[in-house]
Symmetry: C2
Subunit: 201 residues, 2 copies
């Protein structure tokens, strides 16, 4: 016997497909929609429908942008340093770096990392487009800012191999103890990296 | 400078309003929708819009049901014991109890608990309707199955005061160690309850 009405079941099943949302959370969210004002559910429904048609990817750096633009705000900004490209995995990484207010160059969003297990190869992410930018733009430095994970590191190595024939400086973000972190709780490999990268006081 | 396109910002803001979803999770979910097939977002949007119009509350027990029904499946089931009513906080509790396959009576969904801090009094939850059922239905036992929390306990006490003038047996779910739990990790009050409620071996 199905104990929940079909429209509610439908919503719970839809919410369960979201990453990090299990059956319990999906039920809780669905009931929240039931109790919330009608406008909330319908506004969110509209936002869901609009998100794909209203957005596009910048054809230079592949950062997400308003569909009405021809290039993203960062690429269009004449004041930004055209000689540096920071390579990131996705658009959220661009936001994180912009929040630091400490980087003024360009970006290049790969939209993924190399992952043989998931069948993601160099042609599935925006590496070819990165190479084309190195060839045609006045780039002097490429900062590879993929995540400090196994896949992120493999992707960084692959990018190095692919770009070392060009006259550009290739760098990678520093590894070490996170600010505010505790030496006692740092994992072994972070500590090893922090040791190896030690700087004069 | 807004770094995300407006339709995406809109979606993130909408998702952030959900209980238990913070700004980071909201961004992650919004980007998931961007990458997922178009049908997924539009199906979920439809489900969101349909959930309120497609569902209703049973006018006897207030459990959620399909809007096309006149009473819920449990109330409509002639085989269920009409002499017992189990009082719960919300419809998800009905599902949890039904999953035990160990209860065959009726339910009564309060849709909340008494909470002076949040300004929720007896008239804001379905207590009056419960009293009316005690008066008109052949009820012999009321099992108060509100959560074992401060509010749940206060609600149970209030229900006892309100119903003790009627010739019904009032019971509350047992407290004690959860099955599979560990004595060492049980909190003090659970352990005290388990001791007080000890049973002969």
């Amino acid at each position: 016997m199905a104990l929940l009405p079909a429209p509610l079941e439908q919503l719970i099943l839809g919410l369960e497909r979201l990453p990090g949302i299990g059956p319990k959370t999906a039920s809780r969210l669905a009931f929240y929609f039931l109790k919330a004002p009608e406008e909330y559910a319908s506004d969110l429904a509209e936002a869901l429908k609009a998100v794909k048609s209203g957005t596009a990817f910048c054809q230079t750096c592949f950062h997400i942008m308003d569909a009405s633009r021809t290039e993203c705000q960062i690429c269009a900004d004449e004041k930004r340093d055209k000689r540096t490209i920071c390579v990131v995995e996705d658009s959220l990484d661009v936001l994180a770096l912009e929040k630091t207010v400490g980087y003024f160059g360009q970006y290049h969003v790969l939209h993924g990392v190399l992952s043989p297990i998931e069948g993601i190869g160099p042609d599935d992410i925006r590496i070819y487009e990165l190479e084309m930018r190195i060839k045609t733009e006045p780039v002097e430095e490429v900062i590879v800012a993929t995540n400090p994970s196994m896949e992120g590191d493999a992707t960084a190595l692959y990018i190095r191999q692919r770009l070392e024939k060009y006259p550009v400086k290739l760098t990678r973000l520093a590894r070490g103890l996170p600010v505010g972190g505790d030496l006692e709780y740092a994992d072994q490999s972070t500590l090893l990296r922090a040791l190896a990268g030690r700087q004069s006081l």
